[in-house]
Each structure stands twice: as structure tokens, then as C-alpha cells.
């Protein structure tokens, strides 16, 4: 790719939109995942009794549904990302490539 071509791509408004929105989305979801995980780990390190608290009259503790929920959150976040990336972002990528013509 020549310097002019690079400039051409970088000045394309759709390319700018793609990069901006996808980065924001990917980093937001990553940070959500990290916050969820490290909140869990820090609770275990500093306040394990919180997770050991009982729900209802039986033996079930809060920690069990919380742990299972984190597994589901990981899966759901992945699903949210794939849905938007494979739809909206891929469509945008396709349009960028069409506009760029022979560079692409």
C-alpha cells in the first residue's frame, strides 16, 4: 500500500466510523468482563463470607448462582459482540471495501 492509498483509506468516513465504533464496543465489553471477573475474585480474597451467605432455608449459597451467572455472562457478552460484528460491522466493512475499489 502506498502512502497516498493509506491516506485515502484513513480519510474515508465509513472507515473512520467502523474503526471508532468497533474499538469502543470491543473495549467496553472487555472491560465489563474484566470488572465482573475481578469483582468476583476480589470478593473471594477479601469478603468470602458474602458469597457463602445462604439463600433461603436450605444449604444453597449466593456463591453458586453468582458463579454460574458469570459463566452465562461470558457467553452472553460473546453473543452480543458476534451479533453486532457479524451484522453491522461486517456490512460497514463491505461498504468500505466497495468504496475503496481497487485498493481493496
Amino acid at each position: 500500500m502506498t502512502k497516498e492509498q493509506i491516506e485515502h483509506v484513513r480519510n474515508n468516513p465509513k472507515y473512520q466510523k467502523l474503526v471508532r465504533e468497533r474499538s469502543k464496543f470491543a473495549w467496553t465489553l472487555s472491560i465489563i468482563m474484566l470488572i465482573v471477573y475481578y469483582t468476583f475474585i476480589m470478593t473471594i480474597a477479601f469478603k468470602p463470607a458474602l458469597l457463602g451467605a445462604k439463600i433461603g432455608s436450605g444449604v444453597m449459597t449466593i456463591g453458586i448462582p453468582v458463579g454460574i451467572a458469570i459463566i452465562f455472562i461470558a457467553f452472553i457478552l460473546a453473543g452480543i459482540y458476534v451479533r453486532r460484528a457479524n451484522g453491522e460491522f461486517d456490512q460497514l466493512t463491505k461498504e468500505v471495501r466497495e468504496e475503496l475499489g481497487d485498493i481493496a
Binding site: 500500500m1 493509506i6 483509506v9 484513513r10 472507515y15 467502523l18 474503526v19 468497533r22 470491543a26 473495549w27 465489553l29 472487555s30 468482563m33 474484566l34 465482573v36 471477573y37 475481578y38 468476583f40 475474585i41 476480589m42 473471594i44 480474597a45 477479601f46 468470602p48 463470607a49 458469597l51 457463602g52 436450605g58 444449604v59 444453597m60 449459597t61 456463591g63 453458586i64 458463579g67 454460574i68 458469570i70 459463566i71 452465562f72 461470558a74 457467553f75 457478552l77 460473546a78 453473543g79 459482540y81 458476534v82 460484528a85 457479524n86 461486517d90 466493512t93 468500505v96 471495501r97 475503496l100 485498493i103 481493496a104
Partner: protein, 558 residues
């Protein structure tokens, strides 16, 4: 702080045993288990048939390394799950739940949460930039020879360490389950893996992993359902029964000290998350799909399968508490006579295997044993292929021949490398039979997190990365990881027998990853050479390709 460590360390050592899937104690050879052997032979003949089929379709280097790039997202998701759900995690995590209850779940979650982050930040860029190995991406705009040498060294180190753990685990497991001698078991695993990879390349490896994932998930589902069925599918009733029979009582329902000091907790998290994103056999799987779309789908499916699998192992662990613990049939009477308590045959990592017998008799025990063996075969095949690619594609074709080597020759080298790695794995597997191998998987993860991951990540995200920064910083990360593992509690205290460890934490990742990032940053920003300026300039073009896939490797037509 010291007190915290005092509590945390013994538990962390347990984790090491989990991670390597070791089977405790002297193993008595069991009588031949006929149904297990028949089912295992079925698996082997089936997979060898697939290898024959794949061999006819594996003609070019692209076929060999990436199955022609024609694997679908769903298939690849299944294969990633098959690559990642090792026998160590199946037997080790259910064993940890059996021993300590809730703590097993903490470990599972750590293994899972890296996956979405890999999806958001790594998978599609990797697919858009790479061809066969992750070094293709790391060396995209940097100097080929030094970067590929570093990446190949990191890959081979990770692969060999992982292989040792798998081979020793395989030998002991097979000895225990099938009644075959240890050496024979190791040679058998090594030979089969050489056959799959040399003849069938990535296509055969992928299908071995897919079949294994299906077998493992269905076997584990059956066990979990069989356990829940007894309690009319009431989790509360199952937990109540487990609390009643387990020596620790209600403590198994809450965190018990697996991670009780913040440094170890964060360091474990860093090792698991960044380590996963730096495992060469996992990264290589992203090149087997046709484009970024399929790469994303693969991680989504893989996250689902792996998450589901960890929920199953949690139920299986509790099932084992109820049906295996206190059941005289599974007690190790010899051990009980010496140390009391109720130890089970083969140690806690055999809890899931005994449970399979308890819920489905000899036939199902045979099935699960064969699945455990198949699991090891699938993991070692993926590892060997990744190691062979680092040798043939990175070291031979791009460093030694400087990229001017024809494909046929490169493929021949990769096949020779496969055979060599297989033989090395067999020898190391036999040599390490009586050694304490608990540290090797931890070390493999630490190297992946501290050498492979920082270089790969910054090459894609940081424009100012230069060759000098990557090579010095990556090597510092690698060296720190190895040094801290040696000075840490497992090698220094358990193996060398010193009183106290010089480095108190079992997981060095927090420190070694930091060293790597700082080293890469410092030696990049102080690099004022012309070559460095060119490398920084080349980032723009690389970034455009990684964002849009313009110029990316496509799938070959099959």
C-alpha cells in the same frame, strides 16, 4: 500478609496438581478393562480412518497447517473446545470440586473468562493478519528473523512443557484404567499422535478434536443428568445430600481459600487470561477458518461449549461426593490403613472416573476411560502440530531459508519436525514418570502469557513497537517467568527441598507480564534507528488490513 500466604500456599499447590491432572501415589496396575479397550480401539480405528481421508486432501502447506482455511465457525468452535478441555480439566476440576466443593468453580471461571476477551480484541485481527502461525502476525511489520526466532522459541517451550504434562498424565491414566504398562501407554500415545499429524495435518487434527469434544460433552452430560435424576433435578436436594456426607459439611458451599490473598488471585487471573491468549496451538486454530466472521463465530461457540462443560464438571464433582465418597468399592484400603480418612483409588483426580462406574457400571466406565484417553490424544495432536509449524514455518522457512523456500520442502520439514517432537515427547514422558510435574503446566501458561502474548498484542495495538523492543522485552518476560517459577514454592521447595521459597507466589504471571510490557515499551521508545522509524510507519498499512481484512489470506477451494 504472611499469614494469608501461609493459608493460601497449600491450596495453591493443590491447584498445581489440578492443572497438570496428575494422578497421585504409586499406581497399581489394574486388571485389563475389556470394554474400555474395545471402545478405545473403536475410537482409534475411526480416527485413523479420518486421517487416511484427510491425508488425501492434504496436498499443500496451507492444507497441512490450516486445513486449507475451510473449517466452518461451528466446527472450529467445537475443535477449540476439544483443544482446550483437556483430561486435566475434566479430571482435575471435578476432582477439586469433589475435594473442596465451591473452589472448583472458581478455577473453572478463571479458565473461561479469557475467551470473550480473546474474541473482542484478538481473534479477528489475528485472522486478518496471519497465515499459519501467530509469528506471522507478530513479525508482520518487524524484522522476520529475530521476531520469528523469539516466537518460535516461546511456542516450542510452551508446547514441550504442555506435552510432558499430557504424556505423563496419559501414561498414568492408561496404566490405571486399562492395565497397560506405563511405557507402552506413552509410546502408544506418541505414535498415534505422530500418525494423525504427519499424514492428516490440521484436517485430521481438527476432526480428532471435534469427535473428542462430542464424546466428552455427551459423556459428561450423561453423568450430570444421572446424578441430577436421583434428586428429581433439584439442585438444592443434591447440594443438601453432598453437605450431609462431605467431611467439610457446609464449607463446601462457599469459597474456602483457593485464592485468599489478592496478589495470588490477580496473578492467577493474569496467567489464565493472558496465557490462554498466548497458547500457540489455540492461536493457530484461528487460521483454519475462511474469514473474520467465521473466526468470531468459532470463539462464540467455543465459549458456549467450554462454559457448559465447566457447569457439568461442577455437578459431576458434587455427584462424586454423594456416590463415590464413603463408598467402600472405591476406597483405597491400603492407603486408608496408613493415613486414615477415606482416600479413593488413584487419588482425587479419579473422582469422575469412579462416578462413571457408579452411575453406569463397567460399560460406562469403559466409555469414560476411552474418552479420557481420546481427550489426551486430541490435545497432544494440536500441540504437536503447533510445535512443528513453529519449527518448519517460522524457523526453517522464514529464518533459515529467509522465506525463499519451496512449499514441498517446507512441508517435508514440518513432517520431520512432527516425528522428532513425537519422539521427544515419548522420551520426556518416560523420563518424567516419577518426577513431580505439577509445575510444568503453570510454567507453560506463564511463558505463553509473558513472552508470546505481550509481543503479539502490542504488535497489533501499539504503533510504536519496534523489533528491538519486542525482542528484548519478550525475552525479559520469558526469562522472568522461568526464573520466578524456579524460585517459587513448587520447584524451590517441593522439588529442590529448600525450607522456604525465594519468590513466594506460585503464579509469576503478574510480575513477568509486567516486566515484559515495560521492557517492550522502554526498548521500543528509546529505539531511534532508521529501521525502527520504518517499522512504526508500516503500522498504518498493517492496521488497515487488520481492521478490514483487505489483503487477508482467503480459504483455498476444496
Amino acid at each position: 500478609m504472611k499469614k494469608l500466604l501461609f493459608i493460601a500456599l497449600p491450596l495453591l499447590l493443590n491447584v498445581a496438581a489440578v492443572a497438570s491432572g496428575t494422578i497421585e501415589g504409586e499406581i497399581e496396575k489394574q486388571p485389563l478393562n475389556v470394554s474400555a479397550i474395545i471402545m478405545f480401539l473403536l475410537f482409534v480405528s475411526g480416527t485413523l480412518g479420518i486421517t487416511y481421508w484427510a491425508a488425501k486432501r492434504t496436498k499443500t502447506a496451507k492444507d497441512f497447517y490450516t486445513a486449507g482455511g475451510g473449517i466452518t465457525g461451528f466446527q472450529n468452535g467445537m475443535a477449540i473446545a476439544g483443544d482446550y478441555m483437556s483430561a486435566a480439566s475434566f479430571l482435575g476440576i471435578s476432582g477439586l470440586v469433589y475435594l473442596a466443593g465451591y473452589d472448583g468453580l472458581i478455577y473453572s471461571i478463571g479458565f473461561l473468562v479469557g475467551w470473550p476477551v480473546i474474541l473482542f480484541l484478538i481473534s479477528e485481527r489475528l485472522r486478518n493478519l496471519g497465515k499459519y502461525t501467530f509469528a506471522d502476525v507478530a513479525a508482520y511489520r518487524l524484522k522476520q528473523a529475530p521476531i520469528r526466532t523469539l516466537a518460535a522459541f516461546g511456542s516450542i517451550a510452551t508446547v514441550i512443557l504442555y506435552l510432558i504434562a499430557q504424556m505423563v498424565g496419559a501414561g498414568k491414566l492408561i496404566q490405571l484404567l486399562f492395565g497397560l504398562p506405563y511405557e507402552l501407554a506413552v509410546v502408544l500415545v506418541g505414535t498415534l499422535m505422530i500418525l494423525y499429524v504427519t499424514f492428516g495435518g490440521m484436517l485430521a487434527t481438527t476432526w480428532v478434536q471435534i469427535i473428542k469434544a462430542i464424546l466428552l460433552l455427551s459423556g459428561a452430560t450423561f453423568m450430570a443428568l444421572a446424578v441430577l435424576y436421583q434428586f428429581d433435578f433439584s439442585l438444592e436436594a443434591m447440594f443438601a445430600k453432598a453437605v450431609e456426607v462431605h467431611g467439610k459439611g457446609e464449607a463446601i458451599m462457599s469459597p474456602g481459600g483457593l485464592v485468599s490473598d489478592p496478589i495470588s488471585a490477580i496473578s492467577l487471573g493474569v496467567a489464565l487470561m493472558f496465557g490462554t491468549a498466548g497458547l500457540p496451538h489455540i492461536l493457530m486454530r484461528f487460521f483454519t477458518v475462511s474469514d473474520a466472521k467465521e473466526a468470531r463465530k468459532s470463539v462464540f461457540y467455543a465459549t458456549g461449549f467450554i462454559g457448559y462443560f465447566y457447569i457439568l464438571t461442577f455437578i459431576i464433582g458434587f455427584g462424586a461426593i454423594i456416590m463415590v465418597l464413603n463408598n467402600p468399592e472405591y476406597l483405597d484400603l491400603a492407603k486408608q490403613a496408613i493415613s486414615g480418612g477415606s482416600p479413593i483409588l488413584g487419588g482425587k483426580n479419579m473422582a469422575a472416573i469412579h462416578l462413571s462406574h457408579a452411575v453406569g457400571g463397567n460399560f460406562f466406565l469403559g466409555f469414560i476411560s476411552a474418552v479420557a484417553f481420546a481427550t489426551i490424544l486430541a490435545v497432544v495432536s494440536g500441540l504437536t502440530l503447533a510445535g512443528a509449524s513453529a519449527i518448519s514455518h517460522d524457523l526453517y522457512a522464514n529464518v533459515f531459508e529467509k522465506g525463499a523456500c519451496d512449499e514441498a520442502k517446507e512441508m517435508r520439514v514440518s513432517k520431520i519436525a512432527t516425528i522428532a517432537l513425537g519422539i521427544i515427547a515419548i522420551f520426556l514422558g518416560i523420563a518424567f514418570e516419577k518426577q513431580n510435574i505439577a509445575f510444568v503446566v503453570g510454567l507453560a501458561f506463564a511463558i505463553a502469557a509473558s513472552a508470546n502474548f505481550p509481543v503479539l498484542f502490542l504488535s497489533m495495538f501499539w504503533s510504536k513497537l519496534t523489533t528491538r523492543g519486542a525482542v528484548i522485552g519478550g525475552s525479559l518476560g520469558l526469562g522472568t517467568a522461568i526464573l520466578l517459577v524456579i524460585l517459587g514454592p513448587i520447584v524451590w521447595v517441593q522439588i529442590f527441598g529448600y525450607e522456604t521459597a525465594i519468590f513466594p507466589y506460585k503464579y509469576p504471571a503478574l510480575f513477568s507480564v509486567t516486566v515484559a510490557f515495560i521492557g517492550i515499551w522502554f526498548f521500543s521508545v528509546t529505539d531511534k534507528s532508521d529501521a525502527a522509524a520504518k517499522e512504526i510507519e508500516a503500522f498504518e498499512a498493517q492496521d488497515i488490513r487488520s481492521q478490514t481484512g483487505i489483503g487477508a489470506e482467503g480459504a483455498s477451494s476444496h
